[in-house]
Amino acid sequence: MNWPETFRTGAEAVQAHRLRSILTMLGIIIGVSSVILTVGLGQGAQDEVKSQIDSLGSNLLVVSPGSTTSSSGVRGGFGSASTLTLSDAEAIDDASVVPDVARVAPVTSSSVSLVNGTTNWTTTLVGSTVDWLDVRSRTLSAGRFYTAAEVDSSAPVVVLGSDTASELFPGSAVGQTVTVNGSALTVIGVLESSGSSSSETSQDDTAVTPLGTATSLTGATGTSISSIYVEGAAEQTLGAAYQEINALLLNLHGVATTDADFTITSQEALIETANSTNRTLTVLLGGVAGISLLVGGIGVMNIMLVSVTERIREIGLRKALGATPRSIRRQFLVEASMLGLAGGVVGVLIAVLGAAVLPGLIDQPVSLSLLATGAALLTSLALGIGFGVYPASRAARLTPIQALRSE
């Protein structure tokens, strides 16, 4: 019997026992669709993290005070005893020393209460330079950002985050006045919502003022700053920028690499950290789904064994009519792999459907990966073949007399 005949016979056998074939495939269907969906959910979560972090600004490096070392925890202090100063930021801004840097935004941040009449709202007051807007990839929905002149003169102006603005002012915020620690600030603009839904690091609940304004409002003395946002000249040279800043600051602070009192974080590192958690979860869930796929394969073997027993007379007849052991083995192998592959295809369809429906239900993005889909399909085929081998060889080994005599 040639291959096309074998496939036709296999398809007929699968069709002849439709309900049983579907039940057999169920294990594979569930396995394949859950593998694809878990990997899709993991991928979706990773994509979301990436887009969240990307929304902080592209090719961004963040220099923060203190450093984490493997043995002694955090060195240096945050806030009150910041080891970063404005002069560090100015040094980084020097193109001759750090050529791979495009923009530098030194930032102070502190928690303050904004007051509008009787409304009181606690938020993060960010003091920075005009480059902040570009470095953080933000845009304005109303009004304008402060100018370099306003930074130089530490003008009493503030740009509010969209959430902050709507909390304090029911109508338009631009042109209104808020009071911070007794000083009045004019609202000159409102930031466009960043669209990021992460509640902990809300990008939309903030107030941005010129650096000097923030320092005087919070009563901070000296030139300490909370962090320095650095935008690399290009994504490819971000590594170089990292090295340049590192060397510069080590030199300025007069410390050795092992005693560094600052930390430079790239977006990539943030993404990496977030993703490694996601990846662990995905591998775990995918593993569980993979096991169900394996169980599905065992189901195929079980049914194929039943099928061999049930069709023992058919096997005997086919042998009497001239089927060689090899063609019988092939017939049952093809049948098993068809069950596997059909289960895989249905599983993929369900996964595609699930990927379309699920995000609406659980508020989690699902991105289908072609690789996972292909791998799941191949696995289901391999399971069909792998678990079909034993039943098929049992069928092939039957002698025609045994098979014909059985009732």
Partner: protein
């Protein structure tokens, strides 16, 4: 006359524990082309074992079996499958039709294993069905046919490869008397057309229709071997 079947000193033994049971004890037989031979004997006589060996479903423990000139007593399973396909048409007591397939698909089955192309298979299957008088039943499934019709489909399946030998194992065992007559008349016709038929039965009136009878008893042939 050319011999279709030549058995010389064929033994078949089965080992059951320490004992060995001799189902066939030195069978010598010759059946020529065009003969219609009935193999008759009570159950336990070795009749079924003989039928298995004649049908190349089993090989003798010792002795030689030539089928249409070929020594089949030492063939492998795959070779035997090919010989069965090419040389032998089986008719079984239980019909052994595949219930999910229409009559013509059952008839073409041996041609599938012979590697005959699809369209030719259908033509030959339909022609053979017409020959057994079932042309208009070609698309019926076995379940929609009477016992006699089913057995005629099985005969058509046995004929479709134009085999050297038609081997019928109790072909009327499951049929009522009308259908029995029906099927036996078909065998008579085939015999008249020059087919070689070996019919295994335990019914004397069925055996009586054959040209010659081989009586098997205790693993040996007790009647004259005939044209040896």
């Amino acid at each position: 006359m050319t011999a279709i079947i030549e058995l010389s000193d064929v033994w078949k033994s089965y080992e059951t524990g320490a004992m060995s049971v001799h189902a066939l004890r030195g069978i010598d037989a010759r059946i020529d082309e065009g003969e219609y031979v009935a193999v008759i004997g009570p159950s336990g006589s070795g009749k079924s074992t003989l039928m298995n060996i004649l049908g190349c479903l089993d090989v003798p423990t010792s002795g030689e079996y030539h089928l249409a000139g070929e020594d089949v007593s030492t063939m492998t399973e795959a070779e035997l499958a090919e010989v069965r396909n090419r040389r032998i048409g089986f008719v079984f007591q239980q019909f052994n039709l595949l219930a999910s397939m229409p009559a013509w698909r059952n008839v073409e089955l041996p041609l599938v294993y012979a590697g005959v192309p699809r369209h030719e298979r259908r033509e030959r299957a339909l022609a053979t069905l017409a020959r057994v008088g079932l042309a208009e039943r070609a698309d019926h499934k076995p379940g929609e046919l009477s016992g006699g019709q089913q057995q005629r489909v099985a005969v058509a399946r046995a004929l479709v490869t134009e085999p050297a030998l038609i081997l019928a194992d109790e072909p009327t065992g499951n049929l009522d008397s009308d259908s029995t007559t029906d099927v036996l008349e078909l065998f008579d016709e085939l015999s008249a057309l020059g087919r070689t038929i070996v019919l295994i039965t335990h019914e004397h009136d069925v055996a009586a229709r054959a040209d010659r009878q081989l009586v098997v008893r205790d693993g040996q042939i007790t009647s004259p071997v005939g044209a040896a």
